[in-house]
């Protein structure tokens, strides 16, 4: 070798964590769970990754909780407001503290959860826990900041709006769900976003309802001990008052007929086909979700027959894959394809439908099932390569079941699923009457205009 650089400092050698990773558990780290009288839960995961701590505060509210009409997108907007200051810290003071800590900090909202996260040096843990608790317990913002922040949300909508997948998803959800709040996206409808500046009082109500200890789990991962975590959580979150609001999420009635919708896209793009069936909610006990997760990979992943046919052999599609999240309530099992030539839209749709039909009757080969189990196990092991990554992996599961244990239960459940289970469960869910198909393509005149331009080159 011309040059060998040996890295003598074995920083980042999480010896203990690594030993744990060799276990067959899907979540291999030791952790503790502590419940406080007010309903708050603390999960601590000490690792050997040195110096850094990842703090994830998981709130079990998201666009699913937006039950009133005209309030779509509000959970996400509210997440923005959580950065606008609290009784003991102005927004500027918050920023200064995070800056001094060299922290990477952010938040996100999805259907079922809002997650506030920060990764920083362990030396700053006390101050950051104190500051974070203040906003969860004593959030404080004035009307002008509220109205200004609503414009930033509008800016977020605007930046997303160039992407046709955003619109396709909006239409897919409102077509497939008629009463459940999953009918709108987390971003929300534009008309509701435009009305956000007028919802100051509702925002305070939203805070009172959902920013409560019984909906919240503090997750601390990294160079931290349980004693420290417990002490700080008790000290700063201990006086948080339990709430009593429970959102009445309307159940989605059984779908009784196949549905479809089409989006005319105003500028040139490749057509997109989404085929969706009403699927189950997350469960670590019932086989349905896990069986269909396995099927999602086998039937529609990049090693599937369909992918190999449409993407690699026939080359009619350049994006193909399943989208089937773990959700609190029954969720859509979606397969998406971006089609290279508009004339192939129907063909691609029919190929996807035939694949759903195929696995409702045909058994998955045992070796394929074994390979898929292996894939899911290694996916987990390889995703958790830092304290932040471990916390980030945990957050969705914490929002669903408030414990990492659910991940291991899931792994056990996975081992019990047979090819016959997959086929039986597929046959139960992939029925014509529970199907929604949405297509997106450029408006006819735009397509025509584009073709002229192409010819003119």
């Amino acid at each position: 070798m011309r040059l060998i650089i040996i890295l003598s400092l074995l920083i980042c050698v999480p010896v203990m964590a690594l030993a744990q990773q060799k276990s067959r558990k899907l979540f291999p780290y030791n952790y503790t769970t502590d419940d406080f009288p007010n309903g708050l839960r603390l999960i601590t995961v000490p690792t050997d990754y040195p110096n850094l701590v990842a703090l994830y505060i998981v709130v079990q509210t998201g666009s699913r909780n937006e039950v009133e009409p005209g309030k779509s997108g509000f959970a996400h907007f509210f997440e923005h407001m959580m950065f606008r200051g609290s009784e003991n810290y102005t927004a500027d003071q918050r920023e200064a503290i995070f800056k001094r800590a060299g922290a990477e900090t952010n938040a996100y909202t999805s259907d079922d959860r809002t997650v506030y996260h920060a990764t920083f040096s362990k030396d700053d843990l006390d101050e950051i826990m104190k500051m974070e608790a203040d906003r969860f317990i004593r959030l404080k913002y004035a009307l002008p900041e509220f109205q200004t922040e609503s414009l930033a949300v509008k800016g977020e909508y605007d930046k997303n709006s160039a992407n046709p997948f955003s619109k396709l998803y909006e239409v897919l959800r409102e077509t497939a769900f008629k009463t459940h709040t999953y009918s709108h996206t987390t971003m929300g409808y534009l008309k509701d976003i435009q009305d956000m500046p007028n919802q100051f009082e509702y925002s305070q109500e939203f805070f009172k309802r959902f920013y409560r200890p019984e909906y919240t789990t503090v997750v601390l991962v990294g160079d931290v001990t349980r004693a420290q975590a417990l002490d700080l959580t008790k000290k700063y979150f201990g006086d948080w008052k339990r709430g009593d609001y429970v959102a009445k999420i309307p159940a989605e009635p059984k779908q009784t007929e196949p549905r479809k919708a089409h989006v005319d896209w105003p500028s040139p793009t490749l057509p997109i086909v989404a085929v969706a069936f009403r699927g189950p909610a997350y469960s670590d006990v019932d086989k349905d979700k896990m069986a269909l997760d396995l099927l999602a990979q086998v039937g529609f992943g990049e090693n599937s027959d369909l992918y190999q046919k449409l993407v690699l052999a026939e080359q009619k599609v350049d994006v193909l894959g399943p989208d089937f999240s773990n959700q609190m309530d029954p969720e859509l099992f979606v397969v998406l394809a971006r089609v290279k030539d508009p004339k192939d839209i129907d063909y691609v749709r029919d190929q996807i439908l035939a694949t759903f039909k195929r696995y409702s009757t045909e058994l998955i080969p045992q070796d394929k099932l074994a390979a898929t189990r292996s894939r899911l196990r290694y996916s987990f092991a390889m995703a958790m390569d830092s304290s932040n990554a471990i916390a980030s992996t945990l957050a969705p599961f914490v929002s669903l079941r408030r414990t990492p244990e659910t991940i291991d239960k899931l792994a056990e459940l996975m081992e019990t699923i047979s090819p016959q289970d997959v086929s039986d469960i597929a046959a139960r869910y992939f029925r014509d009457e529970s199907r929604t198909i949405v297509t997106l393509a450029p408006q006819a005149k735009e397509t025509a205009k584009n073709e002229v331009k192409e010819r003119g080159k």
Partner: protein
């Protein structure tokens, strides 16, 4: 988010089509060095006891080596290696083999380097390495793969960039404009017209000339067996010896004066990017000072930087505003930059996220006003100290994973600086406010700013800019006097551009 926003899951699928890389960021500690003259292959090794093993296999050649008229061949060659079959295995067979291991093989190209990356669990190391080494060393260059990947490249430019993502479109087109006539000019993926003419023979020729021992850097991290580096080196010695690619590129020479390119496209918002070349790279002694400035002025996706505070937090004009001194593609999808995008010429860039079209003129003025103010006034002592403290700690976060550490080590090798984190800690410790403000005056003063704007009504915006008429702003809530006073200055702020300096570019001409 505030800061991490709502990104559709679909978008990430789209991205992964083209950029299978991504992982995290930054640095490591360098120890001793050794030389072995038996091959011309360089290595960067980061052994530890992790059960994961990470590969970054770098070739010191990229888009700047595309022959004239064959723009995109470097990228297509990389795609053919990482997403195509070998002489003995089809790509389908690779996917089948990778599937139970949950592994993949990613590629990333930039002007001067191409890197292939992947991580595997130690359980699967032999099998995984066997696959990826075969992909790089015994490529099949099959015609069906070629057709697929060439179409992907064209659709990336025509659909994903031009028609799906105004922000990335603006940022990438800014590079086209600044590097007009320079080897960096074209997008790394090529141009639509050049891609159309490429043949599989062009790919073979590029591979033969550029994938040589002299251009290879093997980087490994994780709990790999001691014998692995030697095994890998022996395998890669099958590549021809070749000569190291020594090409370095000067900053482009731009005509003086501001130039504005308004890209006309059917879109609901207006996206802006501004920039100009700088003579500073990570190898330069002024780089740490400029890193402080860029972080203070517009730390990527951070809410505590100056531009973000002024435009978004105080005024609600958009979703975010940032500044850069290094190429940072795919910024809307990630919080930290990908390593291995080293360049001998970089630009200073301001990225203004989409605004409503009626505010486009005002926001352009605001960005120029803030830039001029930065150059005129520099940083304050308080801002300097806070930002220095931030960066000193934040660099540890950038290098949380072994993949990031490996990537930063490769970049330190490229720029010939010590381990990034310790180097920056030391340099930041020595830095003074005067150093930083000198660096601003020396490197960030430009009379040749280039601006790219993506908007629907390009003519109206051009006319507004050239008319110099005021662009008053209204808000949905009362603003402090300090803001309204400043707005009065901004709404008539002089945009120093001549009529011939503003051009309207139909989007279908971009990357054509």
């Amino acid at each position: 988010m505030r800061r991490r926003p709502f990104i559709t899951r679909l978008t990430s699928k789209l991205i992964s089509l083209f950029i299978s890389l991504a992982i995290l960021t930054p640095a490591i500690a360098l120890g001793r060095t050794q030389k072995n003259m038996s091959t011309k292959i360089a290595s960067v090794l980061l052994p530890n006891r992790s059960p994961l093993v990470t590969f970054r296999i770098q070739f010191m050649s990229g888009g700047a080596a595309d022959p004239k008229g064959k723009e995109g061949v470097a990228a297509l060659t990389a795609a053919m290696l990482a997403q195509g079959g070998t002489r003995t295995m089809t790509y389908e067979q690779f996917l089948e083999a990778m599937y139970p291991m949950a592994t993949s093989f990613g590629w990333q190209i930039d002007k001067e380097m191409t890197v292939f990356t992947g991580t595997t669990h130690e359980d699967n190391l032999d099998k995984y390495y066997g696959l990826i080494s075969q992909m790089l060393l015994d490529p099949g260059f099959r015609s069906d793969d070629f057709t697929r990947l060439k179409t992907d490249a064209v659709n990336f430019l025509k659909v994903s960039l031009r028609e799906t993502n105004d922000e990335e479109l603006g940022k990438e087109y800014l590079y086209n404009v600044i590097y007009d006539g320079h080897p960096y000019e074209h997008h790394n993926m090529g141009t639509v017209s050049s891609l159309g003419k490429l043949t599989v023979e062009d790919v073979r020729a590029f591979y033969k000339a550029n994938y040589t021992q002299a251009n290879t850097v093997l980087a490994l991290a994780g709990g790999y067996p001691k014998t692995l580096p030697q095994r890998v080196e022996t395998d890669f010695a099958k590549l021809p010896l070749g000569q190291a690619n020594k090409a370095k590129f000067d900053a482009p020479k731009l005509a003086s004066g501001m130039r504005i390119a308004i890209v006309k496209r059917e879109t609901r918002a207006t996206a802006l990017s501004l920039g100009f070349p700088i003579k500073v790279t990570r190898a330069d002694k002024d780089w740490p000072a400029l890193a402080v400035v860029a972080s203070y002025f517009g730390q990527h996706r951070s809410s505590n930087s100056y531009l973000y505070q002024r435009l978004r937090e105080a005024r609600g004009l958009n979703y975010g505003n940032y500044a850069y001194i290094e190429y940072f593609p795919r910024g809307m999808f990630q919080f930290t930059p990908d390593p291995n995008l080293g360049r001998s010429s970089q630009i200073f860039q301001i990225w203004i996220r989409p605004v409503t079209p009626e505010n486009g003129h005002f926001v352009l003025r605001a960005a120029l006003y803030e830039y001029d103010k930065l150059v005129r006034e520099g940083m304050t002592k308080g801002a300097f100290e806070a930002t220095r403290e931030f960066l000193t700690k934040y660099n540890n976060i950038l290098t949380q994973t072994q993949d990031a550490q490996l990537g930063y080590a490769l970049d330190s090798r490229y720029y010939n600086i010590p381990d990034y984190v310790s180097y920056m800690r030391e340099q930041l410790g020595k830095l003074t406010l005067e150093d930083v403000n000198n660096a601003i005056r020396k490197h960030l003063k430009s009379e040749a700013i280039r601006i790219v704007i993506i908007t629907k009504d390009a003519e109206a915006l051009r006319d507004a800019i050239l008319s110099s008429r005021p662009s008053p702003i209204t808000y949905n809530s009362p603003k402090p006097k300090e803001i309204t006073d400043e707005d009065k200055v901004i709404e008539t702020y002089k945009i120093k551009v001549n009529p011939e300096g503003v051009v309207i570019v139909p989007v279908e001409k971009v990357f054509e």
